[in-house]
């Protein structure tokens, strides 16, 4: 497989840099700075320092024996990103980009957030590195995720409600980019996923690839072989991309990305970008995109706000077309059932995002051999979803 992306940020036909001219310089500077920093030992050490002493890396790889027993075959391991500070993998990226923003001499960061997880992680990094932080959040999401809004404010961030469009993550992203266009000289845009214009998809992937790097070494040590399957949820796709990346060269490792099927693919209320979308251009990148026949972006729907995004990282689109990664989906109901199952079997309450990855296990485990090893990326914990879960599940 050729190294991806190319110098201009293309993953095959996807990715690239589709931004207004005002942002071209900022994107080019960021690319240049990042290319230099990624090779710099001191920067890498600094990132590692914060990941280890602040965020809590490395995260554990836990063998979920009770869960495997439930299915009656195979071995299941969980990569415990849920144990990180602020409760999800998002902190891997915000700490690294926070350091980068400081190195770039920026004094202010802007971020978009849907569920508020990336917003909280960004506000946290801003605290650590003494940066001013503005988080854009759809007015609808602000209502749905009041607790995270409160947390961001406690952390000293300014949360700006977005009333345009659908008033959710997609519109918050537009508004964050508009802010960046306006304050490009002193502001770094701390994007939360492997989406957006080059270099973000590559850079965020690199910052999240620590997940897969650790998991690969841990699983090799635990079972003395590579796993047969990797399983992760895909919204924008940062946890899955970071998890898959180091395994891409291991041709025998099969990878499955699970998208949110919402109320069912046929219902129209879903976030199944890969199956139902067509290639298109949004937020500075070309990738699969949910859109109507006129090329207007359609709304995504999922019970988990983190998967509620109408497009997907361009590298995922590339991996889909090449067949290297298979993309499946799970409905809101399946995710809730998986949440319940993991909680009961293992005493771990997953966030509703990775619950979608877990929801694919019943389908996968019926096909696995006894000796097969499956690793699931447990990208975040369920605390933030308690109100939603409460609405649907009896205790």
């Amino acid at each position: 497989m050729k190294k991806q992306p190319d110098a201009a940020g293309h993953f095959g036909p996807y990715g690239g840099r589709y931004v207004p001219e005002t942002l071209m310089k900022a994107c080019a500077e960021l690319t240049c700075a990042y290319q230099k920093l990624r090779k710099e030992k001191k920067f890498r050490q600094e990132v590692r320092h914060y990941l280890e002493t602040y965020a809590g890396r490395p995260t554990a790889l836990y063998e979920a024996r009770n869960l495997a027993d439930h299915f009656g075959r195979g071995r299941i391991f969980l990569k415990r990103e849920d144990l990180l500070h602020t409760g999800a993998h998002k902190i891997n990226n915000t700490l690294a980009q926070g350091l980068l923003a400081k190195r770039l001499g920026k004094t202010r960061i802007v971020a978009e957030t849907g569920a508020g997880q990336h917003g909280v992680a960004a506000a946290t990094a801003a605290c650590v590195f003494g940066l001013k932080c503005v988080v854009y959040m759809g007015a609808v999401d602000i209502e749905r995720q009041a607790l995270n809004v409160y947390k961001m404010k406690l952390l000293g961030a300014e949360v700006r409600p977005v009333y345009s469009g659908s008033q959710t993550l997609k519109d918050a992203t537009n508004e964050a980019i508009r802010d960046w266009v306006t304050h490009v000289e002193d502001t770094h845009y701390l994007l939360g996923s492997v989406v957006g214009p080059h270099p973000y998809p590559m850079m965020v992937r690199d910052f999240q690839s620590v997940i897969g790097k650790e998991a690969r070494a841990q699983v090799l040590q635990a079972v003395k072989k590579l796993p047969e399957y990797l399983l992760a949820c895909v919204g924008g796709g940062s946890n899955s991309m970071g998890f898959f990346f180091d395994f891409l060269k291991d041709r025998k490792v099969r990878m499955i990305g699970v998208e949110a099927a919402g109320e069912g693919v046929a219902s129209g209320h879903h976030a199944v970008t890969m199956m139902k979308g067509k290639p298109g251009i949004l937020h500075g990148m070309k990738s699969y995109l949910l859109q109507d026949p006129n090329g207007q972006v359609q709304l995504a729907h999922s019970i988990s706000a983190g998967l509620d995004y109408p497009s997907v990282g361009p590298e995922h689109s590339y991996l889909r077309d090449s067949g290297r990664v298979r993309y499946e989906s799970a409905t809101d109901r399946e995710a809730l059932r998986a949440f319940e199952l993991l909680t009961r079997c293992e005493g771990i309450m997953p966030a509703l995002e990775p619950a979608h990855a877990l929801a694919y296990l019943p389908r996968l485990m019926s096909k696995t051999k006894k000796t097969d090893v499956v690793v699931v990326c447990l990208s975040g914990r369920g605390d933030k979803d308690m109100a939603t879960v409460q609405k649907h599940l009896k205790a």
């Binding site: 201009a8 690239g16 840099r17 589709y18 931004v19 207004p20 001219e21 005002t22 942002l23 071209m24 310089k25 900022a26 345009s164 469009g165 997609k170 519109d171 537009n174 980019i177 508009r178 266009v181 306006t182 304050h183 490009v184 000289e185 067509k278 290639p279 298109g280 251009i281 949004l282 937020h283 500075g284 070309k286 995109l289 859109q291 026949p293 006129n294 090329g295 207007q296 972006v297």
Partner: protein, 264 residues
């Protein structure tokens, strides 16, 4: 249709007469298609030199609240690119010879089919194209199709654009060069950016093509000053703001702005 490119013709004429260019942006279908049609038909009479026909998009990244609002209103009833082409065909049939430049984000164009778009746009009577989220580095095949169909592709230059890059942009831009006067999104602003004159001087040294200034132009006095520094101005959000009051107020505003730009 498709033989005369009115944009080429207009720019040659402006150069010969040393006339400033006044360009008006309209969101296609706002408040309805009849209003857009009437404004296009009255534009020439009102002193407009170039018309930018804005095609609404669900996620207009480079636009401020005014154009976002207009786009949302239009999309509530849905509008296709074919509808926009039909409108252009209609005004051409009614004899309008004003240069019309399609201004739209890439995705609707991409969904229509780039090759088909270049062909059909020209056939409908459009003269040029501005795609704010398509830099010259991307979609090379589409750019070739535009050239083949003589659909003029106008590029934007921003205050943050480096000199090195600006040279490439003005060289590749066809018809005119669109200078974005400020860091930020479209919308009504008062005043004139401090570095504007300096930047325009630099750009003028790089090209013979007219350099038009847009983003934030909203009042006659401001438009007059900017027109003196440049080859013309582009007004968008301020027109839409007047259009919210009705077609009449918008027409009167356009006339006033045209007079300011042309110095009459």
């Amino acid at each position: 249709m498709g033989t005369t490119n009115f944009l080429d013709w207009k720019i040659r004429e402006a150069k010969r007469k040393k006339r400033k260019l006044f360009c008006v942006f309209l969101t296609c279908g706002f408040p309805d298609l009849a209003a857009t049609e009437r404004l296009i038909l009255s534009a020439e009479q009102a002193g407009v030199d170039i018309l930018e026909l804005g095609f609404p998009f669900s996620d207009p990244l480079a636009d401020g609240p005014t154009i976002q609002y207009a786009s949302e209103q239009v999309l509530k009833r849905s509008l296709s690119i074919a509808d926009a082409f039909a409108l252009v065909r209609r005004v051409r049939r009614k004899g309008s010879r004003i240069p019309i430049v399609f201004f739209g984000y890439l995705n609707p164009v991409y969904a229509y089919g780039e090759k088909e778009f270049a062909r059909d746009a020209r056939e409908a009577g459009l003269d040029g194209l501005i795609v704010p989220d398509m830099p010259p580095e991307e979609e090379l095949a589409f750019q070739k199709e535009c050239r083949k169909n003589k659909l003029r592709l106008v590029y934007l230059v921003a205050p943050t654009t480096t000199d090195e890059r600006a040279k490439g942009l003005v060289q590749r831009s066809q018809g005119f060069v669109y200078y974005v006067s400020l860091r930020g999104v479209t919308g009504v602003r008062s005043g004139i950016p401090k570095d504007l004159e300096e930047r325009l001087k630099k750009l003028k040294r790089m090209t013979d093509k007219p350099v038009l200034v847009g983003f934030g132009v909203s009042a006659p006095g401001q438009a007059r000053v900017i027109a003196e520094m440049s080859d013309g101005v582009i007004v968008g959000s301020a027109v839409i703001e007047h259009l919210k009051q009705g077609v009449g107020p918008a027409e009167r505003f356009i006339e006033k702005m045209a007079k300011a730009v042309h110095g009459s």
